[in-house]
């Protein structure tokens, strides 16, 4: 397992941030939550999201915590990512949200 603070040369690693709107009709219910956590777990980076820019932040790798957010359709998900593969991680979770988690 690589250390997650390796990406920036010195000081605190800057989190990468981006947001996306939940488009799938049922929001972040059980199945999308599972997909999001599975996607997040594929990366070493710390991946968190929130319904507001200032948080509170939820660990995107925890299926129970993700489901508890109960984010509805139309909600904006703010992501905060730190880690060596942070850029790829952020791109992957954003693509998932944009794609409606593969649901129509």
């Amino acid at each position: 397992m690589p250390d997650s603070h390796a990406s920036r040369a010195d000081g605190k690693p800057q989190p990468l941030t981006a947001s996306a709107v939940l488009v799938n009709p049922v929001g972040l219910h059980a199945r999308p939550s599972v997909k999001l956590t599975q996607c997040a777990k594929g990366f070493a980076a710390t991946i968190e999201f929130a319904l507001a820019q200032e948080g509170p932040w939820t660990d995107a790798k925890s299926p129970v915590k993700v489901m508890r957010v109960k984010a509805p359709q139309g909600a904006t998900l703010y992501f905060r990512v730190v880690g060596p593969d942070g850029e790829a991680a952020l791109a992957a979770v954003l693509a998932l949200v944009h794609d409606g988690f593969g649901e129509s």
């Binding site: 059980a30 199945r31 599972v34 956590t37 599975q38 997040a40 777990k41 594929g42 790798k61 925890s62 299926p63 129970v64 915590k65």
Partner: protein
């Protein structure tokens, strides 16, 4: 997704009702996919509602993974019979099987989600048990 070093933790579903066990397993397969060894058992030896140790042992065998097996149970007898089944396992396997204190359906989906990401047995159990936290 299968960097199978020790592999993904196996999931066993034990319910008094064979239909619940099968249905919960269906949910896991559909929501989480096939990257996780999964087995289910339900009913007593006569096919009625209940659980039986032999069935649980067979399910553990079917879902076996070097990374271990997490068992999700419903009520009383399912838990005690599962614990009995674990005690009957060969010693080297016994320490790698845990019974989760979690709701059987939700716990199975969460445990499998955790497992599908390659998490170790302790993390799989902890995540399933977050439902009661």
């Amino acid at each position: 997704m299968s960097q199978a070093n020790p592999g993904n933790v196996g999931i066993v579903i034990v319910s008094h009702s064979p239909k619940i066990a099968e249905g919960a397993a269906d949910m896991v397969r559909q929501m989480v996919g096939n990257a996780v060894p999964l087995a289910f058992t339900g009913g007593d030896v006569d096919g009625g509602l209940g659980t039986n140790v032999a069935g649980i042992l067979a399910a553990i065998e079917a879902a076996w993974s070097p990374a271990g097996v997490a068992i999700l149970v419903d009520l009383g007898g399912a838990e005690t019979n599962s614990e009995m089944a674990v005690e009957m396992l060969p010693e080297d396997r016994r320490a790698r099987v845990v019974v989760c204190n979690a709701p059987v359906v939700e716990g199975a989906v969460i445990a499998a989600t955790e497992s599908s990401g390659g998490s170790p047995l302790a993390a799989v159990k902890r995540s399933a048990e977050e439902f009661y936290a």
